[in-house]
Amino acid sequence: MTFAFKLPDIGEGVAEGEILKWMAQVGDQIREDQPLVEIMTDKVNVQIPAPRTGKVLQILAKEGDVAKVGQTIMVIDDGSADGGASSTPAPAPGPDQVTAAPQPQQSPSSQSILATPATRRLARELSVDIAQVKGSGSQGRVTDDDVKRFASAYRSGPSTGTAQAPPAPAGGAGSREELVPLRGVRKTISERMLKSLQTTAQVTHVDEADMTELVLLREAFKGSAEKRGVHLTFMPFIIKALVPALKEFPYVNSSLDEQSGNIVLKKYYNIGIATDTEQGLVVPVVRDVDKKDIFELAGEIEAVAERARKGQLTLDEVRGGTFTITNVGAIGGLFATPIVNAPEVAILGLHKIAKRPVVRDGRVEIRDTTYFSLSFDHRVVDGAYAARFTSRVIETVQDAKRLLSEVL
C-alpha cells in the first residue's frame, strides 16, 4: 500500500515550510521515526520523522520547494498488502546500515514494470517512481506520456514553476562567480526583511544613554550571577528596563492586524533576541520577561542563543515575540537603523558602550555612553510617542536605584 506523507501541521499556525533536506531518497528503505526531512518554517528548522516504515516511492517536493501543510510531499510504500506487484517488504535497515543496491535480476517487481529503459530514465529525471504510474499502453506499459502526466498531476501548487537546473557540476573550472542557492534561513530572512520594509512605515529614532551606573550595577551583580552559573551581560538589565516602558506605552508592544482592522495590544512581554549564527540571523524569544529576574533572564538568553547557534531551536522558541532587541555592540559602530521584526511594531538597537566626553551640570565628564536606536512602524506609533518611550527606557537604565527595583 502506498502512503501519502503529507506535510504535518507543525503547530502555531504554520501554513507552509520549505523543504531543506531529504534524509532519504527514492528507493530507500525508511524506518518509522527516523529523521526523514528537514523543514524550514518561520526561521527555524524542524526535523520531521518518518511517519511509518517502508520504501520511498516518490519525492514530490524537492529540496528548496515550499510545501503547504497537508500537501503530499512523499509517497511511501509501507509494505502492507494491496495486491500490488512486489509486496516483499524488505526488512528495514538498521540506522547505520546502507541499503544495498537491489539485485535487479532477482526482483519480480522490477521485472513487472513495463517501460522501456528510456522511459525509466525519464521517470528518474522527473523524480517519479515509475512503479506508481498506471500505464496506458498494452498490458499496462508505461509510456513517456504516462510519466509526464503523473509528474505534473502531483506537482501542483507553488512548486510548479521551480524547474530547477541540475546542480552545477562539482567545480566548473575557472569560473569567477559561484552560485549559492538562496535557501533555508537566508531565504527566510530575505523574504521577511523585504516584506517588513514593503508593508510597514518604518522610522528610526536615536537617543543617547549614559550607561555609567548600569556598568557599575552589572559589576555588582556579576559575582552572584556566577554563583548561579550564569554569565551576566547588559541584556537582562535592558530587558528589565524595557518592561515598565512597554507597559506605559502599550502601542510599542502591539501588532497591527490589517485584516480585522485592529491594533492588538499585548499584555504579555515576550522579547526576541536577534542572534547571529552561521546560517544567518535568527530571533529566539524569551517569554514573559516581566515575571523573571535578571539571573533567570541571563540563563535563558544564554541557552537560547547557544541553541540558535547550533540550529537546535524549536518552533516555539522563535514564535510569539512582542518586541525585539538587536545588539551589535560587540561588533562596533556608532548606531544602526534596525528593521522591525514584523508583525511586531518596534525593535530596539543596542550599540557599543564607550567612554565618551559628556557635559553634566556644565562640566565635561568622561562617562560610559551608548546609543539606543528604536525603529518603529509609523502606521501604529507616532514619532513623539516613540521618542517618549525611548526616553523612558533610558531614564530607567540611567537610574540605578530605579533599575534595581525593576531587576529583582
Binding site: 531518497q25 528507493g27 530507500d28 547505520d96 546500515q97 546502507v98 541499503t99 544495498a100 543496491a101 537491489p102 535487479p104 535480476q105 532477482q106 519480480p108 522490477s110 521485472q111 514494470i113 513495463l114 517501460a115 522501456t116 529503459p117 525509466r120 530514465r121 528518474r124 529525471e125 523524480s127 498490458q139 506499459r141 541540475p166 546542480p167 552545477a168 557540476p169 562539482a170 567545480g171 566548473g172 573550472a173
Partner: protein, 465 residues
Amino acid sequence: MIEADVAIIGGGPGGYVCGIRAAQLGLRTVVIEADRLGGECVNYGCIPSKSLITVSRLADKLKEAEKFGLKASGVSVDFVQLQKWKGEVVSRLVSGIELLLKGYHATILKGEAEVLSKDRIVVTTDQGREAISCRNLVLATGTRTSSLPGLEFDGDLVIGSKEGLDLKSAPRRLMVVGGGAIGLEFASIFQKLGSAITIVEIMDQLLPGSDPDVVRVVHRKLESRGTKIYLKSKVIRVDKKGSEAAVEVETPDGTVTVEVDRILVSVGRKPRTEKLNLRTLGVQTDPRGYVATDNRMQTNVPGVYAIGDLRGPPLLAHKASKEGMVAAEVIAGMPSAADWKVIPDAVFCDPEVSSVGLTEAKAIEAGYRVKRSRFQFAALGRALTSGEPEGFVKVISNEGDGLVLGVQIVGPEASDLISEAALAIEMGATVEDIALTIHPHPTLPEAIMEASESAAGRPIHQLKT
C-alpha cells in the same frame, strides 16, 4: 597537487568507463591504475581468454574438418606465436583506452593509490609521489582470485586464471578446481589444445545457479570429449612429485587419486579492498567484504562511490562499465541510477552458454505462471551448416500476457545471441513481439524467434507439444 572533481581508483572496465564519462561531462577526472589500464578484463580475463578460445576452437574444428570435405594436415599449435598474438590484442585495447581517456582530457596516473581521506589521495608513480585533492572518490579496484586452503598458488603446479592464460604449452593433464564460468572456459580451451582434463566442483552441477537443462548439454559434451567431472567433490590432498602431482579427490563414491601436471584453481573471487583504507573512510561493507552502495553507486560516505566487482556479484565487466557511467553521471548531478531489469551473462565454454533474466526455477519462485518453450539448434539450418547442432534456446515467459521473463541459450554463438533477449526484456516485449519480428534466414537468432513462436502457441519448425 592535482585538483580533481573525481578521482577513480582502478582503471578496469568500471573505472576507465567511469573516467571517460566523467571527463565527457566536464569533470576534472583522474584515473589511477596500479597495473595496466583495462584491468582484469582486458589484461588477465575476458580478452586474453577469448583469444585462446578462438584458436583452440579453430584447432578443434580442423580435427573434424575431413567430415566437411576439408583436408587439413600437419595442424599444430605454436604457443609462442599464440601468446604473442594474444599479447598484441591486449596491448591494442589497452592503448585504445589510454587514447580515449587522454582524448577526453582525463588524467591517468599509473601507480598504487594510498587513500588518506575521502578527498586526499597519494599515488606513488615512477616519477615519485603525486598528491590528489578530489571532491569525489570512486572506488573501482575490483576483485582478485581467491585461493583454497591446501591449494595455495605456487605459480607452477597450482595456478590461477592469470597464469593459466600465459602457459607456454598445454599441460598433458590439467585439473580444474571449480566448475564455474572461468573453470569451464579453461577446461574447454585446454581440452581442445590436447590436455586431459579433470574438473572438480563442490556443488551438484557445473555452472552452479544456471539452468540445469543448459548445464546438461555442456556437461555431456565435456564428458564425450573425455573430460572427467567430479561433482559434490573436493580436493583433499596434493602429493607433489617433481613436476607432477597425485591429487586425492573426495567424491560421493569415495576417494579417487588423479595424476596431474597442473592444477588450475578457479573457486571465486574476493573484493580488493585492502589498500582502500575503508575503515578510515568510514565506508561500510557487507559481510562478504563488498562495498555497500545504493543504486546510484553512493556509499554511506557522501562523495565516495563504488562500482563494479567491488560492489559485489555478478562479477561482470559489462555490469562494471554501466555502473561506472552511473557513478560519473550522478557525480555530475544527473539523475542516473542502476535501474536495469537484467544483466546478461555469457560463458565461453563448449558449447557456449548465455542467460538473461529469470531461469525457469527463479520465475516459478517469483510467482509467475511460467511458460517454457525451447527450440533445438539441431532443427535450425544455420546451426547445421555451421556444423554445430548442439544446444537450444529456452524462452521463459509469463502465461497469459506472454511477457518475456528470461532466456537461456546453450549452443553456437550463445554469447552473441543473448543481446536480443536482453533488449526484449528491457523493452517489456512479449513472446509475440519477438515471434512477429522478422529474423533473417539462415541465421542463429532464428532460434530465439522459433522458441518465441512456440511460446505464442504456433510453432512452424517444431511439432506442437
